[in-house]
Symmetry: C3
Subunit: 154 residues, 3 copies
């Protein structure tokens, strides 16, 4: 089954990939590694899940933000590679969670992205992961994700 078919079966529709901005780009491919820019929980050009975990944003809502940021990341990967079937392995995910004082459940929040990666890519979706608590994030986003992806030899 293609990844697109898997996405369809999961009822997942990818957003439009975030537009390239002035001096940086959404992703850079070096050899077989695709480095992505930091991804926020964008929908229709807006960060839709803002605020801090431990201060008004629940773990469930944070996990939803992680999932949405991941969909933005996958939209970029698809745009860069032409097809998500060219993903060999999700190598590494860093999840930055905007955290109010005392919040320590960053792993549960980032599971929103990690679990979805395995649902979509199976074993190839199992990644090294770093979960961190950020003081602040761009545009007051609740979550920011970094992805490193290995691409199949073509």
């Amino acid at each position: 089954m293609s990844i697109d078919a898997t996405l369809k079966a999961l009822g997942i529709e990818l957003p439009a990939p975030p537009k390239p901005v002035a001096s940086y780009v959404p992703a850079v491919l070096v050899g077989d590694l695709l480095y992505l820019s930091g991804m926020l929980p964008f929908r229709d050009g807006q960060v839709v899940i803002t605020g801090k975990l431990g201060d008004g944003v629940t773990v469930e809502r944070g996990a939803e933000a992680a999932r949405l940021a991941l969909l933005n990341a996958l939209a970029v990967v698809k745009h860069e590679l032409g097809s998500l079937d060219r993903v060999q392995r999700i190598v590494r995910v860093v999840g930055h969670v905007a955290s109010a004082a005392g919040f320590a459940q960053q792993p549960a929040v980032i599971n929103g992205a990690s679990d979805l990666l395995v649902q979509i890519f199976g074993e190839s979706g199992r990644h090294a992961r770093v979960a961190l608590g950020a003081a602040e994030l761009p545009l007051h986003a609740a979550i920011e994700l970094e992805l490193l992806v290995q691409v199949k030899h073509s």
Copy 2:
């Protein structure tokens, strides 16, 4: 001298490697680069050094946390590669230090890991390094470490 012999001479015993969890894995090998998940100061399945630097956790205690997180990382590397003698180079270490307002000695804290890497691996242990102050870390850990390791061609 093998790295195991060096560890023994230094009186260092590695902990059991942290267990793989649901959707992510302790490390991913791509080509000759081993990417590790974020490592916390675990002992016997518990984060044993918690709290913030600059608010109850001293630099010395923080350096001990960095050292313990590193031992967890090396346990993962050994488990993945079979032997620490397969380490070609420690490429990069990122040290996240849970920091109370005004704390700026992150480098001294992360030296707990950096110095030990050179004791164990000699010149091959000299790495690029990033020391950062985090707002919060998973499970209230005082320290989280990221490692990137180059593996010898086998």
Copy 3:
């Protein structure tokens, strides 16, 4: 035009590269990738732009700090490679912005580095980017930059 000539035309003089310290090094080259240590806004051995964005440090001043940290990074790259003409691509930049509560303009701050990279390297300077808000940074620096650089085959 060589990169040195471009720098001259832009009126930019690189600082002396930050000195190697005890157990880590300014950069590690693996294959064709050069990993740099975290770079602070150093001038003459001092961090010259300190404090937090959103609490006394303006976006303009933060962007200046990002630019200065980048010049330190480029000084390291030049020192490691012999010449900046050996840069194939700026792959990735992570910008950590010391952020007071509520500050969310990290991207505008890191543009100080991103825009300069494109001025200096043209298309090769367009990079994947991650902008983050840090609780605290070493030596009270306003900015810390991470760079990953692809090197030309020699």
